[in-house]
Every structure is written in C-alpha cells, then in structure tokens.
Assembly symmetry: C2
Homo-oligomer: 327 residues x 2
C-alpha cells in the first residue's frame, strides 16, 4: 500500500476528504434536517425558540494530550456544552464543531476525537450537524450546542427566592481531585485508594453530566433557578445569588464525600476545597421552592437566604472561588 492511499496526516488527506471521512456513516438526530455539506446546516426548532451556548477548548489550557485520549477530549468538549444547554432546562438537539489543528495532525487523532464527540452528542440526545476545519499551530476546539426548550420557559439563574432549597445532581470536586492527582503524578499506593484515584482521574478526563436529572423533571417541579457547575460551586452559585438578588448558605456536612477524603489524604489536600472551587464536573445545581420539591437523585446542600453572596456554614470563604480564564 502506498502512503497516498492511506494518508496519515490531515495535510496529506486534505480538508474536504477529512470532513467526508469523519462524517461518513454518522446517524443524525431527528432534529437535524440538513447536515454537513452545504453552506450551512438546518436544525428543527419545534418550540419556535432554541437555546444556544458555545465554549472554546485550547490545548494545554483546557486539555493535555499526555493526560487524555482523543476520544476523551471529544467527549468532554461536547459534554460541557450539552450541560449548559440542559442547565436552561432544554433538551440538546444538535452541535456544530470547529477544529483548528496543525497540518501534521494524524488523521487517526481527528477520527478518534470525532468518535468521542459523536458518542457524547448521542448520549445527550443530539448529533453533530456541521463544523469547520482550519490550520492552527496547536489544537483548538470550538463547540456550539443547541437545545429545544420543549414548550417550557427556560430555567435561568435569576429565579431563586429566600427560603428555597439548594440541591445538586452529580458529583462535585471529582474533576478537581483528578486534576490534582495528574498534576502530582501521584504514585500508585496500595489498597482501595488506587480505585479512588482512578475514579477521580476518569472524572477529570470525561465529565458525565446527568442530563436526565434535569430533562426528566416533571413540568410541575418548582425549580426556580438552575446552572451547571463549570467554574466551581462557589462561583456558579454566586452567579445565581447575584442574578437572583439573594444569598446562598451551604451546609458543609452535605458536601462530604468519602471518595474525595481518600484521595485528599494521599495528596495532603482539602476535599472541601475541591468541592467548593473545582469546576468541570458539570454537575447541576438548582434551587427548589421548598424541600418537598427536591426530586429523587438531587442532594440538598444548602438554603437560599436574603442578602448577597455565598457562605458555607454561615461564614464567608476566603481565597479563590473558581476558574478565571485569564489568570
């Protein structure tokens, strides 16, 4: 076989053949009326509105090639956008993806990246309707995600009221703990901690937002505000507090996680810091009008109060509250 019949880099294969290869045999979600191949895609919006969010991931800033497989990077890029769509109460319908990469990027890398993206898009209920490929000195991935409000009012950050219960669906702090393990290059130790280390590293590599925890809520649920935990619990609840004109107080006992205790003991770290300021888990945090409204699968972690800001056990936290892009 010749090199040209099996091109190994995106330069050898070329943009159009690469797009043909990674879109071949993909099954579009029912809402994608016209997929890749024209000037633009066409997506259904049966509600008469659509929800849209976008995130950019930059190599060595948002992912590292020595820490993550291409499939993992693809899944993560889609998951963090799908979580933002679901955090409005909308069902993901479609995604568009732009990829910037060097000319000598392996075709196989792009194929595996696309496989991860398609897998997570399908898990979220959508598919990849189109995109762009450009040359760039290093990898840059931009994902835009769309969702269908399904006839309901989008759930914003601004509806929390004093007396509401704060609850979460999904793990908190696992991604931050996994990052700490990777950064420390922590040696395997004996016993059950090995499994815990592996669990949090896996959570860092690929967040698994619990989309169903939001999307299967009955319409009658008195959910008053909703966000996904992407920057860190304190920062993201701070956005709800600010948008809603309220304060939030968290109960540290409700945030206790034995897995994180085990990992933190190995690293000499604080598990509560991971829970409060670690982002990227893409758990969902919501406020419910009263404790009776907190659905199965959601864990109460605090209360909405009058005032401003976010406290823990009634006291303010010092130090960083979460991710800052330009820090």
């Amino acid at each position: 076989m010749t090199a040209s019949s099996h091109p190994r880099t995106v330069r050898e294969l070329g943009e159009f053949a690469l797009i043909a290869r990674i879109t071949a045999d993909r099954k579009q979600a029912p809402g994608v009326l016209l997929g890749p191949g024209d000037d633009a895609a066409v997506v259904a919006a049966p509600d008469g509105r659509f929800v849209v969010t976008t995130d950019m991931l930059v190599q060595d800033r948002h992912f590292r090639l020595d820490w993550s497989d291409p499939e993992d990077i693809g899944r993560k890029a889609i998951a963090q956008n799908a979580a933002d769509v679901v955090a409005m109460g909308a069902a993901p319908s479609a995604f568009v993806v732009s990829l910037g990469c060097p000319s000598d990027t392996a075709v196989e890398f792009v194929e595996r990246l696309a496989d991860g993206m398609w897998a997570e898009a399908e898990r979220a209920g959508g598919s990849i309707a189109g995109g762009d490929m450009v040359r760039s000195p290093f990898l840059v991935i931009s994902v835009t995600a769309f969702g269908d409000p399904r006839g309901r009012e989008p759930i914003t950050r601004s509806g929390a009221r004093p007396g509401d219960v704060v609850a979460v669906a999904g793990k908190l702090g696992w991604s931050a703990a996994g990052l700490a393990v990777l950064l420390a290059d922590a040696d395997p130790v004996s016993g059950p901690v090995i499994d815990r280390l592996a669990d949090v590293v896996a959570a860092h590599r690929v967040p698994r937002p619990d989309y169903a925890a939001v999307l299967e809520l009955p319409e009658s649920t008195a959910i008053t505000a909703l966000t996904d935990v992407s920057d860190g619990l304190l920062a993201d609840l701070g956005h709800i507090a600010e948008s809603s004109g309220v304060a939030v107080d968290l109960d540290s006992a409700a945030l206790h996680d034995p897995t994180l205790d085990g990992v933190a003991a190995v690293l000499g770290a604080s598990p509560l810091d991971w829970v409060l300021t670690g982002g990227e888990d893409h758990a969902f945090a919501a406020t419910f009008a009263d404790a009776g409204d907190v659905p199965a699968g959601w864990v109460p972690i605090g209360r909405v109060l009058t005032g401003t800001g976010v406290t823990v056990d009634g006291a303010p936290r010092t130090g960083p509250t979460g991710w800052e892009s330009f820090a």
Copy 2:
C-alpha cells in the same frame, strides 16, 4: 488614575468584567430573547427551523494584526459567517462568538474587535447573543451564525439543472488582489492605480457581502442553487456542480474587471486567476432556471451543462482551484 481603575490587559480586567464591558449598552436584535449572562442564550426561530454555520479564524492564518485593524477583523469574522447563512436563503438572526487570546491582550483591542463584530452583525440584521472567552497563546476567533429561513425552503447547492444560468452578486477577486498587494508590499505608484490598490486592499480587509441581493429576491424567483464564494469561484461552483450532478461553464469575458486589470498590471499578475481562485470576497453565486430569472444586481457569468466539473470558455483550468485549509 490608578492602573487598577483603568485595566489595560484582559488579565488585569478579568473575564467577567471584560464580558460585562463589551456587552454593555449593546442593542440585541428582536430575535434574541435572552442574551449574554446565563448558561445559554435563547433565540427565536419563528419558522420552526434555523440555519446554522460556523467558522474559525486563526491569527496569522486568516488575519494578520499588522494588516488589519481590530474592527476589520471583527467585521470579517461576522461577515463570512453571515454570508453562509444568507447563502441558504436565510436571514441572519444572531451570532455567538468565542475568543481565545493571550492574557496580555489589550482590553482596547477586544473592545474594538467587538465593535466591528457588532457593526457587521447589525448590518446583517442580527446581534451577538453570547459567547466565550478563554486564554490562548494567540488569537483565535470562532463565530457561529444563525438564520431564519422565513418560511421558504433553504436554497442548497444541489438544485442546479442543465440549461440554468450562473450569475453572481458582488465583486470577485478583489480580496485576492488585495492580499497580493499586501504580500508584495507594493509601492505606491502615480495616477489612478493608487485608488485601485486601496480599493482591493480594503476589500481584502473587510468583505462586504451583498446580503440584500439574496434576501430581497422575490419568493417567485426561480433560483435553483446558491452558495457564497469563500474558497474561490472554481472551487465553490465545483461544489454546486458536484452536489447537483451537473457541469458549469464560465464565460471569461463576463468575468473581466477593469479594476483588477489595473492592479494586476502593477504586480505582473493574472486578474482572471484572482477572479477564478481567490476566495474571501463572499460574493454570492447562484443558478437561475433561465436568463429571464436573473434579477437586477446579478451578473450572468456562465451556464449549467450536463456533465461534471467547471470549465472556462469550454476548457478545463489547470492549477489550484481555491483555498485548502491544511496546505
């Protein structure tokens, strides 16, 4: 005044303050139901469908800071996406934008970039509904554009039929000629050529797609296929030919442009090459069912024939046909 009261870099100002600054006092288009500030934006889709396209622009690959003002870069990023929406026959409604930039990027640069984006978004009939800001070693801009089909069937590339007339709305080759002037760093010469050089350089810096040429077509117009000329006329008409299962023959006399003749004479270049293979003008190229259907403002440049491929005056062209991302 202290440095902290007038932060000069995005690191000093911080992501959230930067977003607040560039979104303050902006007027959203009527279709943007919820703008920046929550997990996602909400956009109207009165047609029950929306059109979506995305493009990524990378510093030194798609723009150069020594050749373009920030406003120009912003306008171009929006224009090339709006042109893709219009090339489906849809009216631009909204855009989302991700920006990757170094921490020491001047706040003023981002403000001017955003000003250019907002100006072009408004010219296209939309506004910027949301986005993302991340740290990156150099500038990367990702734009996703949405459009409303307005109850009409999207105009794809696949409807051209033998006997149709090929016509264009907008300049061809001016952007390529402007790029050639910039690359040659051509010395000012005397006489009217100076103005021609300036005109094509301006066209390279900021494409001005003639959105109205498409959007104001009466619904009865027998337009059978449509694209925007982004990669080069031969390449883009090649997509129509391939998608429609037809051939296209162009009339070189109809592509003659005295402005390009003047610029080409200075540089010793071929004006027809610029017209045929230069991209980035974002003119619109369409096929109409017969010559009587070609509307005012559109210039007939060729015919659709049975067969495959694109010819000029009946003969195939050798050499490159247009832009290749990974070349």
